[in-house]
Each structure stands twice: as C-alpha cells, then as structure tokens.
Symmetry: C2
Subunit: 218 residues, 2 copies
C-alpha cells in the first residue's frame, strides 16, 4: 500500500461539512430496533471502515467479536439484566421510577451483536506511544467503535452501545483471551425511530450543556 | 431543545458516504504543521461540534483545556522530550535508530494546543451506564476527540494526538482539578503535508493489517 497513486487529497466542500454535521446530529445511541436483518456481509464491511480509525502507534488493537450464538446472546442479556437491576437499586429514590422506565439496551431486538475488545498484549506498533499511557490502546478501540457507528448511521443502520454489563462476565461468556480488554457491547440494526435529540434528554433524565462550559484556557 | 421542528431525519446519499470514506482515509495523525494560525474562534467552533459526540448516560464528561501560555507549552514539551527519551531507550536495539528518526509530535510547530480530560467525578448523567464500566467516561472523551479530529480535517485543519507524556505532569502543569483524568494532548493547525497512508507505515515502523483479521465469530 503506497500513497503514490492517491496523493492528491480530496477537497472537502460545504456539502460534506453540512453532511457530517447532520450525521453527528442524528447519530443517536439506539435502543429500539426493527426486526429486519442486515444484509449478508454488512457488518464485515462496516468493521472494515472502522479499521480506518486512528490507533496509538499504528497498533490497531481493536478486536471485534460478532456474537451469533443464541445461548451466548441470552447469557449477555441475562448479565445486562442483573447489572441493570443493581444500577436501578443504586439510584436515588427520587430517580428510581424514571430509571426503571428507561429502555437502556436493544439486546432483545437488535439483529446484530458485536463485542469490542482491546488487545492489551499487542505486539503491533512495537509499544510506540503507549509507555506512559497504556490506556491509549483502549481509546483507539473506542474511536474505532465511533467510526463504525458513523459508517453504519450513514447507511441508515443504528448502533447502541451497552455498558451496563460486567466486563469479566462478557469475556467469559464469549471465551475471549485474557489479554483482550472489554470495551463495549454493540447492538446494530435498523432503528425503530429516528431523533436528533438524545433519548435520555427526551426522557427528562438529563440534558446537554453548552459547549462553552466545557472549555478552559490556560 | 426539542426535536419537534427537526424530526425528519436527513437522507444520507452516496456522495456523503464516499465523502466520509475520503475523510477517514485522509484524516492522519499530524506531526508537521504550517505556522499559519487558526482564525479566531475556530477551536471553540470545532469543540462545539465535538460536543455532539455520544457520552455514557449523557454525562458529557469532556473538558477541553486550550493551552496558550508559552511557559505551560514549554513545560508540556519538556515533559514530552523526557518521556520520549525514555521510550527510545526502551526500544529494542534494532529499532532504536528508526524510532529516533520519527517525528512523534508537532508540539514545536502547532499553533493550537488542547489538553483533553474526563471529569471522573461527574454528576451529569446521574451515574447512568457507568456502574460496572467507569472507564466509559474516558471512552466518551476519546470519541469527542475523534469528533473534533474529523470536524477539523473537513476544514483542512490537521490534528495530532500526543500520548508520549506523563498524565500526572500534564495535570500539574495545567493546574487541573484532581478529578479530571487526562486523556490526550492535541496539536492543531494546517498540516505541512497530506497523505492517505499513516506516517508510521510510510516510515516502515509497522503497517495496517487486513480488517478480516480483526473479526472473530462466537
């Protein structure tokens, strides 16, 4: 792979800039899915696009596990239910009813399940960029998931990231090497609804803050 | 903010799909910058776009610190030099010369420096989605950085993520609250070169692998 034949960078115009903004605005963390399956090869194609993500030291530590086995899916869902019950119990009394009313995963509906891991014992990249910050491997995987998310959404496919699970349990259910660190469990499929406002904001759980409140100067 | 007036989702066409692919292909982790400054307000606008990123439980834990003070910049750069010398020393003998030849940060050139942190003691989002996976806060910030990266690149602005620094030192240099967890130090500016192949691959450090090698089925 060389850049010889492709070394004229594209010019990104206002159409594409507006398009990315629309994409980011309508992305959503999807919890409700249609039953329609994804076409054969879709998840592999989306993962290939996700592999264009940046990675620390060119380590490409992402490992995507496509979960198809019904028993494995059921075990993941059972783990989610257990963790979510504990999370509900830990909420303040005043918020508990609202929490209980939220649909926090599409595990029951999504036609495609993918577990994403970071290979912590990763020889690729020869350790570059991660001596003082080994977590940079994990961040690379989070960004690959985000890339997958955007690529999926551009095709009308929604993604929901489930974090209400026990990483050790998921690793065991899927029989994953010990050096792979669990990053997220992803549900994919065609969304049952589309919105430009986060579900948690629509439900009154919390709301976005002004970006200026996130900036400090030094 | 409601979705009432905007609830017709955009249709993303092939032009935008190809455009995103070009964007991902030409993104790059930039280490060489032109001296040209960014126009006033640019970084704030890009950070506002970054705030469209997903965050666990709508926590928006990202905190962006725009580093302008020359003394602070010099201290960060000195810390990078120290950490990079240690990283060089830890490389195998056969790789040491190649490592030494790599330019691994644009701290000496970039007109804009931004340090990104995750507020770990974050009341926003009321803890949702992070009981079993507190690191989801950090992943949210990594994804916001990636969003900033893509938005910048669409305007011809490059970003380089520097991870060869000591998080504790950066936190101290910038006088940051203890509950903010350092995620990455970002250099931004107009790139001195544009490429569709990662710099580390061009330099022969390592190379991208086939996406299929990153997929497992269960």
């Amino acid at each position: 792979m060389t850049s010889v034949l492709l070394d004229t960078p594209p010019v990104f115009d206002a159409v594409l800039q507006d398009g990315l903004r629309d994409l980011l605005t309508w992305r959503r963390d999807v919890r409700g899915f249609q039953a329609t399956p994804l076409a054969e090869g879709t998840i592999e194609r989306l993962i290939a696009t996700a592999c264009l993500a940046p990675s620390v030291g060119l380590s490409e530590p992402w490992r995507f596990v496509v979960v198809e086995d019904p028993a494995a899916r059921a075990a993941v869902r059972a783990n989610y239910e257990t963790c979510n019950a504990a999370a509900l119990a830990s909420q303040d009394g005043s918020r508990r009813a609202l929490y209980a009313s939220l649909k926090l995963s599409g595990l029951d509906q999504a036609p495609v399940h993918v577990a994403a891991f970071a290979e912590r014992d990763c020889s690729q990249g020869h350790g570059l960029g991660r001596q003082t910050m080994p977590s940079a491997l994990d961040y690379s995987v989070a960004i690959a998931i985000h890339t997958l998310w955007l690529a999926a959404r551009l095709e009308g496919i929604g993604l929901g990231w489930v974090s209400i699970v026990d990483p050790a349990a998921i690793t065991e259910i899927l029989d994953i090497p010990k050096s792979w660190h669990f990053i997220g469990y992803l549900c994919l499929g065609y969304p049952s609804e589309e919105h430009d406002v986060p579900a948690l904001q629509r439900a009154g759980w919390d709301e976005r803050r002004a970006p200026a409140s996130r900036i400090l100067y030094r």
